[in-house]
């Protein structure tokens, strides 16, 4: 029998190893799997390469993972927000690496990683510093840059609801990178606000087919990152 539901976030992230590449869904806090990230802090894996659009806010979630010195390198499009302090500080001190990728290129590199396409050409970033050192090619008179797929060992993704097959639906703009990251990791770990019975999700409306998902944990009332930041909270709830 197929049953991808696991009992706790701790169990879900237990096998993430030192040096792993881990994709983390979310655009800012929308779609960020904060309970899975906190479980990863508890678990303690080090030297991680994190692929995520941003670098977290305040001292919770992804920012707390970085503050806990578990992250060697960030691959992202926008590593700062008005309330991000942890990453900028470490970056200025040269204590964390950054690979800056245009947002659409980041999305496509993750998608192709999941789709068995190792590389593609794109017009984005041509003639800019972000294309420096990269191979270019002229196709039909226009210049494109060669970009390579990104794959991960693990993806941590937040969604609205899941069933035991791992079929997922998302909520509004919290969808963002989640469906792509599900496809691009060897092991995709999902936190869902609700577990549904098989068949409760309309087969026409499934966003992530279960084949891309390995584990699902139900987190009924996930923390709001911005609320925690506003309250000056720090994970581990210091």
């Amino acid at each position: 029998m197929i049953n991808k539901i696991v009992n706790s976030a701790a169990e879900a992230v237990a096998d993430i190893h030192d040096g792993a590449t881990v994709m983390i869904s979310g655009f800012g806090e929308a779609g960020s799997p904060i309970e899975l990230i906190h479980a990863l802090i508890d678990q303690g894996a080090k030297n991680l390469i994190i692929v995520s659009n941003n670098t977290g806010s305040g001292y919770v979630g992804l920012a707390a993972l970085i503050e806990n010195r578990q992250v060697k390198k960030m691959i992202c499009s926008f590593p700062k927000t008005t309330i991000s302090v942890v990453f900028p500080e470490l970056y200025r001190k040269g204590e964390i690496e950054l690979e800056l990728v245009p947002q659409g290129t980041l999305a496509e590199r993750i998608r192709t990683g999941g789709a068995g396409i190792p590389a593609f050409y794109t017009p984005t970033s041509v003639n800019t510093p972000l294309a420096e050192g990269k191979e270019t090619r002229v196709i039909n008179g226009k210049t494109y840059v060669l970009e390579y797929a990104i794959k991960a060992d693990f993806s941590l993704v937040k969604c609205k609801a899941a069933d035991r097959y791992g079929n997922l639906i998302y909520n509004k703009t919290a969808r963002n990178f989640g469906p792509l990251m599900c496809t691009a990791a060897k092991t995709t770990i999902v936190q869902a606000k609700k577990i549904l019975e098989l068949g409760e999700i309309d087969p026409e409306c499934v966003v992530t087919p279960g084949i891309f998902v390995k584990r699902v944990v139900e987190i009924t009332n996930p923390e709001d990152e911005s609320k925690l930041v506003a309250e000056n909270k720090r994970y581990l709830w210091k």
Binding site: G199, P203, E204, P209, G210, I211, F212
Partner: protein
């Protein structure tokens, strides 16, 4: 010996059953058109296997009953089918993300020829008058982790189908994992063929006599 052999060949159903027993609980499986489709009937009841059809459905169920066909719910062979509870629909790019991205565990395909090194030819005889048609075969062998071939050991004319080099156009090179025929189950390991199981009464020598490629004992 010919006589003994004729009496104990595995039937098509028996071959399909052999394949079915090698499909693990929880596997995501794509079954090719024709003989591979039979495999689904023999999956042990305690195993939950999810069938993918490349035209956009994960969770394919049985063939639709007469009178209950939906022309917009078909499999890759364009037969009317059903969908299981927990199924989902998606477009072709997402479907081939599953295939090419290595997400399907097992694909069962028919063969015109399989070579000694695990090359597969199953899409064209290369004859000039035939209409070439490839469908998803090349994507499947390029992307799916485990490729099971299910086939008669020889052609109707008695020619070997397991050959040194495929004479027909290739579907993919070094892609076959295991071959199931009416005479034997043969593994492809590091570009060599190893006999894993013989049908009752079939000897290694007899099998080799029906096989152009060199066979090895595990």
């Amino acid at each position: 010996m010919e006589i003994i052999n004729k009496s104990v060949d595995w039937t098509t159903s028996q071959i399909a059953q052999k394949v079915a027993l090698d499909i693990h609980d929880g596997a995501y499986v794509n079954l090719g058109i024709g003989m591979p489709e039979l495999v689904a009937d023999f999956i042990p009841e305690d195993r939950e296997v999810i069938y993918h059809t490349e035209n956009g459905l994960l969770g394919m169920g049985k063939i639709a009953e007469k009178g209950k066909e939906d022309l917009e719910l078909v499999n890759a062979g364009k037969k009317c089918i059903t969908a299981i509870t927990g199924a989902c629909y998606f477009h072709h790019a997402d479907s081939f993300t599953m295939i090419r991205g290595g997400h399907i565990d097992i694909c069962v395909l028919g063969a015109l020829q399989v070579s000694e090194e695990g090359d597969l030819a199953n899409w064209s005889t290369g004859e000039p008058e035939t209409i070439p048609a490839v469908g998803g075969a090349m994507d499947l062998v390029a992307g799916v982790k485990t490729i099971f071939v299910i086939t008669q050991h020889c052609t109707k004319a008695g020619e070997p189908k397991i050959v040194k080099q495929c004479s027909y156009p290739l579907t993919g090179k070094n892609v076959v994992t295991r071959i199931y025929t009416n005479l034997a189950i043969i593994d492809v390991i590091e570009k060599k063929l190893f006999v894993k199981e013989l049908a009752p009464g079939i000897t290694f020598d007899y099998l080799q006599s029906k096989t152009e490629a060199k066979l090895n004992v595990l």
